[in-house]
């Protein structure tokens, strides 16, 4: 049954540009991007149980890597792919440095990384434009074509993220990460190379946000450090996964969908207090909806890791 739904959803998503206007397409692109971010975070936060706040770092790094490469003349899609690779490499290196930390220490370390990257980007004015931001080369195509391009590109990233998550869940990597999440010391004794597994999970949690950042940069044509390294980009995916009820891979997608719905319907118009309202949502979510909207809940973080299907 689920397979059927998934196929139907995929077909609908693919066909959307033919039936929807640019505004709807834009919203849908955001939805797909949110899904990719949430799925990405799920590798390290969900599977491995490490509370990472580094998503913003990877997103911003991807955005700037792609932007800078394009200003140097690299074609857009090549820049995207390279940016994703750069984010992955950065995560692999960073992971070696901070994944031995646990709990709060890891969380704060991952949080600080985005801030450090932001400061560095701000200072490297020659390369990145510093605080004045970076302008990306504009595409020579009409608005509708561009909308479709970014839509499909984001869809590819999100679909890849979902497929990867499903594969990992069934594979020994997923099993091992689950063991690490529930009892890391016991996992080591059973022969799991926890260091390597965690680095892999961390890298996976970087590649998709990195690609999203790259696409985002081309989409909006202008980025600045405060914008793409915004800590909210780290917090929102977590909220999405919590909303969707952690414990399943598709939960991340449901959560992204619900979150976007709330964002578009409820508080988009209160631009000034946007972040404050997010704060209220987060507080309410944590206090009143311990199982997200689909079940799974905090017990998840102490253990369960489901299969790919809901």
């Amino acid at each position: 049954m689920t397979r059927l739904l998934l196929v139907a959803a995929a077909l609908l998503i693919l066909a959307l540009p033919a039936i929807a206007d640019n505004y709807v397409l834009r919203v849908a692109t955001t939805m797909l991007m949110y899904s990719a971010l949430a799925l990405g975070w799920n590798f390290i936060g969900g599977f491995a149980g490490y509370p990472s706040f580094a998503t913003a770092a990877f997103f911003g790094l991807g955005a700037y890597a792609s932007g800078v490469l394009q200003t140097k003349g690299l074609p857009m899609v090549a820049a995207w792919l390279l940016a994703g690779a750069i984010a992955a490499l950065f995560a692999a290196a960073l992971g070696r440095a901070i994944l031995h930390l646990r709990g709060h220490y890891f969380a704060i370390a991952s949080l600080v990384v985005a801030e450090v990257l932001r400061e560095v980007t701000n200072s490297a004015t020659d390369l990145t434009g510093g605080g004045m931001g970076l302008n990306l080369p504009v595409l020579s195509a009409d608005v509708t074509t561009q909308a479709r391009l970014f839509y499909y590109a984001t869809f590819v990233v999100a679909a890849t993220a979902l497929a990867t998550a499903a594969l990992v869940a069934r594979d020994r990597l997923g099993f091992g990460l689950r063991c690490i999440q529930q009892n890391e010391d016991a996992a080591i004794v059973l022969g799991i190379n926890t260091r390597r597994y965690k680095v892999v999970a961390f890298t996976l949690s970087a590649v998709f946000p990195g690609l999203c950042g790259a696409i985002y940069a081309s989409w909006v044509n202008y980025i600045d450090p405060t914008d793409v390294y915004d800590v909210l980009l780290s917090v929102k995916p977590i909220v999405m996964v919590l909303l969707g009820g952690a414990g399943t891979v598709l939960g991340a997608v449901y959560g992204a969908f619900l979150f976007l719905l709330m964002e578009e319907l409820v508080w988009r118009n209160l631009l000034e207090f946007h972040a404050g309202l997010l704060g209220i949502i987060v507080v309410c979510l944590v206090l009143f909806l311990p199982h997200g909207l689909r079940g799974g809940g905090w017990a998840f973080w102490r253990g369960r890791m489901g299969e790919a299907a809901p």
């Binding site: 509370p51 220490y105 600080v112 450090v116 979510l285």
Partner: protein
């Protein structure tokens, strides 16, 4: 001679940093909660002091107890209503919660006070004194004295009073404390309230030394974190060491690299510490 001046600057700054960090350390050490609100609470205290000075003509130094009291109540209620329910939850949950609470408080402050910087300008200004060639602004000196006094007061409270003993007991072994009849939920609320009170008091002092704006909240939070990691978690002497060390490091780096990099210095120091020595200078393990 320059180096002595820089050192003194660093120590004076460090004193204030101790006050900034001690509330954060208390909450983290006893509740195992990283209080993301901490920076915003400090700024709230600063604003309270600023407005008290502007409209009621109360000297920020004299306002310290009032700021502490106000924020104690806020902190107490916050813990009781919002955080106590999730105390048994994993790190991610409590962290996300205090994140959400901070988003709320931070943005409320921006809404109320706007993001422009305010500064408390004491009139008449207090000037500086010259201690053997080293110049120290008097307001900073008094701030440092107050800050250290506050930290000392907290230390005495924790060691001497019944509530303080209960707090320490809960920190060491929550279940044993419960068996001893300690009402843990209330202790949690009091501890968080104390942490907030220290933040408020520090904010009051801070308003004299630096311009205030909600944007400072993040930087203050990170400084508090660095100090806790530097000095080792959960002990007042640790906070002293961490605070004075950070103040000194920042002072020297301001001399060599420039003051606009102070935040970057904190961050880099933090990352390096976490990578190589998360137990800090004192080598004591914090709550994992």
């Amino acid at each position: 001679m320059v180096y002595v001046q820089v050192l003194v600057n660093g120590l004076v700054l460090g004193g204030l940093y101790c006050a900034i960090a001690v509330g954060f350390s208390l909450v983290w050490g006893v509740l195992n909660v990283i209080n993301i609100l901490h920076g915003s609470l400090i700024i709230l205290g600063s604003y309270a002091a600023f407005f008290a000075y502007q409209y009621l003509n109360i000297d920020p130094f004299l306002f310290v107890p009032a700021a502490a009291a106000l924020l104690f109540c806020l902190g107490y209620l916050t813990q009781l209503v919002f955080i106590n329910p999730v105390m048994a939850s994993p790190v991610l949950i409590t962290l996300t919660l205090t994140f959400g609470l901070n988003l709320l408080l931070y943005n409320l402050m921006i809404l109320a006070f706007k993001a422009d910087f305010r500064k408390v300008i004491l009139s008449p200004p207090l000037g500086s004194i010259n201690l053997g060639g080293v110049i120290v602004p008097i307001d900073r000196l008094i701030s440092m004295a107050f800050a250290l006094a506050l930290v000392g007061l907290l230390y005495a409270l924790l060691r001497g009073s019944r509530i303080g003993r209960a707090i320490v007991a809960v920190r060491m072994d929550r279940e044993a404390a419960q068996l001893m009849g300690v009402k843990v939920a209330r202790i949690y609320a009091i501890t968080f309230g104390l942490g907030a009170a220290m933040a408020g008091a520090a904010g009051s002092l801070f308003s004299v030394m630096f311009p205030i704006s909600p944007e400072m909240a993040n930087a203050l939070l990170f400084k508090a974190f660095v100090i806790c990691v530097l000095g080792g978690l959960g002990s007042v002497p640790g906070v002293m060491i961490g605070g004075l060390t950070l103040g000194t490091i920042e002072s020297y780096s301001a001399l060599f690299i420039g003051p606009e990099y102070s935040v970057t210095v904190s961050f880099t120091l933090l990352i390096l510490l976490l990578m190589f020595r998360p137990t800090g200078i004192m080598g004591r393990r914090g709550f994992q």
